[in-house]
């Protein structure tokens, strides 16, 4: 997975080879990483949309008045 295993050897290469990507899996892992990025992004929306809907529904059922929250103002 390591793209560079010896810095002296790496910097001794021709300039066009030195000037390149040095992250793990360079040249072979990018597509997979981007697919993972999309899955994490979309997955986050799905997870949080559900929890937000549940929270809003629960709170809406309680029908508090506009000033009820004042009883919950903490002093610490």
């Amino acid at each position: 997975m390591a793209t560079v295993t010896n810095w002296i050897d790496h910097l001794n290469k021709p300039a066009e080879e030195v000037a390149g990507a040095i992250y793990p899996g360079a040249g072979s892992s990018e597509t997979l990483l981007v697919i993972l990025g999309f899955i994490i992004w979309i997955g986050w929306h799905i997870l949080t949309a559900k929890s937000e809907s549940d929270e809003l529904e629960r709170l809406a059922r309680k029908r508090h008045s506009a000033n009820d929250h004042r009883n919950n103002i903490t002093e610490w």
Binding site: A15, V18, A19, G20, A21, I22, Y23, A26, G27, E30, T31, L33, V34, G37, F38, I40, W41, H45, T48, A49, E52, S53, E55, L56, E57, R58, L59, A60, R61, K62, R63, H64, S65, A66, D68, H69, N71, N72, I73, T74, E75, W76
Partner: protein
């Protein structure tokens, strides 16, 4: 890099953009403080988190596709040929500055010893994206769901503003060539579009409960904490310095760039690669801020909320031409923008029952729009690009800056890429029942359960004996 002077120039440029990113981070800190200060106590925590979460959402999508859009869309597509490959198609070939180098899978979108600029330039634009989304965030507080805001933030931050930047802010953009569009510090490409987008969303979202009386008279709600609001705006001013610097290229040799044989001319340039100076835009930044503050204090009768916002509106209004204006011109333009925006805000509120909680549509949208139009008159006849001067690229010419082009450009920013997409996406979210929080929750307060839990904990702790 093996040449010391070349390395110095490159690493200076890399560090320059990096510093602008750090400074621009303060814009977001300011927006968060400002929104929390403007919201009521029972909504504070959700308001803060709504704005905070646009950071990761816009960042991830900006990496996945937003940055690619900027480099792919300068031609429209189909509206004007690129000066790089003379095609009107999306720029996805192997030419210089093609979008193909900025796909999420590109090895330039990572640590790469051959590229010291892509990451910091990407980040500078990303911070503009956060700003666009954050402008929308303030207008719609206390009644939108976090889910809906997340979708809207991605739409404005990673799609629509980046299209407008490709069209009107890219050196190869079709709006420069056909309209002579000029918007050096983003009166339109950030502010008018975000203000228009916010207005489109507000038209569907509706006002906060209690904002209008039964007879339709508007009531003032807040700000709940004017000190947090004003400190937030001060931080936005501070971050704006980074914004201005990030819109420049710090050091560039224009001679070879314009195809002038044997001529070397090193200078700072604006985003269009035409010459300006960091020193000159500093005059104009401060004078337009001052113009905005002076006019705001006068028209709002010393109200701190509007006076601070007017300082910002003054800069925004003059930004389109602040690379070339005289400082007194910048000041006067800032004053004009503030007076018109302030009046328009209250007229629209009364006439159309639009509840813009923080005046974002006025400060960003109207001021940005007006600034673009004024720029067309004051800079009438200036070249919109340097590339047409040296005829470096065959077959391509650029229109000069002109009033009609700027007016059309303002309409494209505010209406075509701002208001219409904002309205349509909000309509879709509304149709899904996902746009607005339930009425009962808005009355109780979004933070009700969190506050209740905290109170329960407080009681338990205070009665604890060990």
């Amino acid at each position: 890099m093996t040449d010391q002077l070349g390395a110095l120039t490159t690493i200076f440029t890399e560090f320059y953009y990096w510093v602008t990113v750090v400074l621009m981070f303060l814009i977001h800190v300011g927006f968060c403080m400002y929104e929390v200060g403007a919201s009521r106590y029972k909504h504070h925590q959700h308001t803060l988190m709504k704005n905070t979460m646009l950071i990761p959402l816009v960042t991830v999508t900006w990496f996945l596709f937003g940055w690619w859009i900027y480099w792919a869309f300068p031609t429209g597509p189909g509206l004007a040929p690129s000066i790089m490959n003379e095609s009107t198609a999306l720029i996805t070939d192997e030419s210089a500055f093609s979008a193909t180098w900025y796909k999420a899978t590109s090895d330039l979108m990572a640590v790469n010893l051959g590229d010291h600029i892509s990451g910091v330039f990407w980040a500078a634009f990303l911070l503009f994206s956060w700003t666009a989304a954050s402008i929308v965030s303030g207008a719609i507080i206390e009644r939108i769901t976090t889910f809906a805001f997340g979708i809207l933030a991605i739409a404005i931050g990673s799609v629509f503003w980046t299209i407008d930047a490709a069209w009107g802010w890219h050196f190869d953009g079709w709006m420069l060539k056909l309209l002579g569009y000029h918007d050096a510090y983003a009166s339109g490409v950030i502010h008018a579009i975000a203000g228009g987008f916010a207005l489109g969303v507000l038209m569907v979202l509706g006002p906060r409960i209690g904002k209008f009386s039964s007879s339709g008279e508007p009531r003032n709600i807040g700000p709940r904490n004017p000190w947090l609001v004003t400190i937030g705006l001060f931080l936005i001013y501070t971050g704006f310095w980074g914004f201005y610097a990030a819109c420049n290229i710090p050091i560039f040799d224009l001679g070879p760039e314009y195809g002038m044989e044997g001529i070397s001319y090193w200078t700072a340039t604006n985003i269009y690669v035409t010459p300006t100076t960091l020193s000159g835009i500093t005059f104009n930044f401060l004078m337009s801020l001052s113009g905005g503050l002076l006019a705001g204090y006068w028209i709002a009768k010393g109200d701190p909320f509007w006076t601070y916002s007017s300082g910002l509106a003054g800069i925004i209004c003059a930004s389109a031409g602040n690379d070339l204006y005289h400082p007194i011109q910048a000041m006067i333009i800032g004053m004009i923008g503030v007076v018109i925006s302030y009046k328009l805000h209250y007229w629209v509120e009364r006439k159309f029952k639009i509840d813009d909680a923080v005046g974002a549509v006025a400060v960003h949208g109207y001021a940005g729009f007006i600034g673009l139009v004024i720029c067309g008159f004051v800079l009438n006849g200036y070249p919109s690009s340097g590339y047409s001067v040296g005829a470096m690229w065959d077959g391509t010419t650029y229109a000069t800056i002109n009033p009609l082009g700027q007016f059309l450009g303002a309409l494209i920013m505010f209406v075509v890429l701002g208001l219409i997409p904002g309205y349509v996406i909000a309509k879709v979210l509304h149709g899904m029942g996902k746009l607005r929080i339930p009425r009962e929750v808005e009355i109780a307060g979004l933070d009700y359960e969190m506050m209740e839990d905290a109170k329960r904990d407080e009681r338990a702790v205070s009665s604890a004996t060990r």
